[in-house]
Symmetry: C2
Subunit: 416 residues, 2 copies
Amino acid sequence: MTPFDTAVSRDACAARDTSDPLAALRDRFVLPQGMIYLDGNSLGPLPRAAVDMFSYTIEQEWGQNLIKSWNTAGWFDMPLRLGDRIGALIGAAPGQTVVCDTTSINLYKAVCAASGLRSDRDVIVAEAASFPTDLYIIEGAMKSTGRPMKRRLIGADGPLDALLDDRVAVVVLSHVDYRTGALMDVAAITEQVHKAGALVVWDLCHSAGVIEFAFDADAIDFAVGCTYKYLNGGPGSPAFISVASRHQAAASHPLSGWWGHAAPFDFDRDFRPDAGIKRFLCGTQPIISLRGVDAALDALEGVTVAALRHKSLALTALFINRVSTLLPDLEIVTPRDPTLRGSQVAIAFEHGYAVVQAMIERGVIGDFRAPDIMRFGFAPLYLRFQDIWDAAEILAACVRAEVWRDPRYSRRSAVT
Amino acid sequence: MTPFDTAVSRDACAARDTSDPLAALRDRFVLPQGMIYLDGNSLGPLPRAAVDMFSYTIEQEWGQNLIKSWNTAGWFDMPLRLGDRIGALIGAAPGQTVVCDTTSINLYKAVCAASGLRSDRDVIVAEAASFPTDLYIIEGAMKSTGRPMKRRLIGADGPLDALLDDRVAVVVLSHVDYRTGALMDVAAITEQVHKAGALVVWDLCHSAGVIEFAFDADAIDFAVGCTYKYLNGGPGSPAFISVASRHQAAASHPLSGWWGHAAPFDFDRDFRPDAGIKRFLCGTQPIISLRGVDAALDALEGVTVAALRHKSLALTALFINRVSTLLPDLEIVTPRDPTLRGSQVAIAFEHGYAVVQAMIERGVIGDFRAPDIMRFGFAPLYLRFQDIWDAAEILAACVRAEVWRDPRYSRRSAVT
């Protein structure tokens, strides 16, 4: 059985849903009636059990127990406890991950710390096609190192091989390209970076919770990622940062707030960082939003990332197959090779903006990335094979109807 | 009528509650039965209307509308919109305040930016008695400036007058001392700092929402503060940062994430900061926790900070008066002069830890700060004069009963 064998009919897709071992997970999420949600790579849906967890945190823990909840409800420990839960999804043993702040800020900590661990080197390598905030944050981090640093961009300045030398301190890479959906070979690239004597920071925003990652097995140095895409933690829920145990004692960053102190309630005058991963905490975290991460991780209980990845590949394969069949002229940017594909399918099309708007109006939620990318995310937790069939049909109907001639779908600024 | 004239009896306090023009505000908050909550300077209580606002944001905006809510529910604009609302409480005209990240991280941005605006100077002045994270963050910010910086500490190294010279770039001060409750003379100190050619960063954590602050009128350069104390935004709700319009175009900091970009959805490769206050944003904010700030600001509608300050002073005066009468040997650390007093009363007592624990067991929630400070916060939004009378009685009963001899109240680590 290949992932493509269900593509013969909608009935075959429905049958595959019936036998899908992950099918029951869909009930763990609130999904609006009649909507096919292919934007879980931007904002995951609300886990059903989150509603009661939020209420309890708001009305009981905050409302009734107030300040005591810092201890009794475990608020103090949430960044570490949730960090270990995310660590389990990305192959990181406990004590190496915390949930806090934003991806941008965690990337800043990671790049500063990694640069400090390679203080005899002065180059940071990043991807020209990186999600822009990664490049912006690297700019800021370079200025904070206290020494002149240079940036080399994979793509603009050459391939990674050509950019690696003994001046490179850090390489920052995305596990999955946010536009094309291409997946990197983490093990091979990390080994290559390490052979050059540099450290690696992996951005897992578009893979955490849906694609396997082997933080410990691949000897990753640092990883960061968000919790509101495939992890479904809620809008803007706090991000995570993972730092390998072997680096922690020497890894320092300038966001030295009291939550990173070895003894925050001793109220010492000088900063003395915690010996472990807590040194990557800074200030007080938004507890209610953190509780969304808690609920979202509960919704992943009992399922392995390997099983999610298996279904994700089947979903994207089905979509690629259907779109190729229905619209053979469209350019599918995402690699067809499953070892090179993330959990999304990107299609380049000059009228992509209008098509995405028209599809949204017809209940299929995808998004658009300038200049011409239609982007569809495939979350195996709650999508059915029949949804994929229908989404491809609706895409084809919109393209065949030339919806871009309709002024209702004219360009406006894109959504995150 | 002086603030002390109600102190003759509990009945007089109850009568004063009846005539209190702010008395009705108490109904806007959830207050546990039988609890006198004097810890609103650590975590404010749940605004009653917040419950429905959170539910709507979680179940409708996130649950049903999903990604569209970034535009339709105004999620994108929340940091600025809430910033302007907080600006109105601290005397800052619109366009100078954003709500985002944590106080620690916002202080980092402020100190980095202020140092950059005084790049010919190399000294940062702070208070030795500052809340420690302020000192820790200054340490980190000094390392990020790209030039050697020195720290001078008010108290440890001398009084402010003696520390100000033409090497001082920035002075970081707290409006209210988190331990003693002493209030600074913002206008006079800011003028003094400006005369020395330096910039000032005010930490408003213990004053925002309860004590008047004149950001524009006093020509403040930068201010930061939290929203979960007297502003009641919920546990760890995002903090704020205010930057004077005159500084914004030249003020830069290294946390250059995409939310601070002039055109975040153009996905440029290089960072080009927004021309205004948005350059102090960095990454995606925790929307649900931000909604708590929204609800909390609603609970302040129709009341002036001046009226809150007036009642706050009356409450603290009553407490000081009652404690002095009942327990004349206790050392009240907080200034009796209302122009020098914040919204809390701190009492130094060697058995303070046990007394605070015993009071908590009797329904009066205060907190303890090592080595010997019992700290009671007085929030005029929801406290009654009769509560203050009762709290003083319970304090006196605990001291007279020598509760510290009871092993139940033995020392453990303090709560934030």
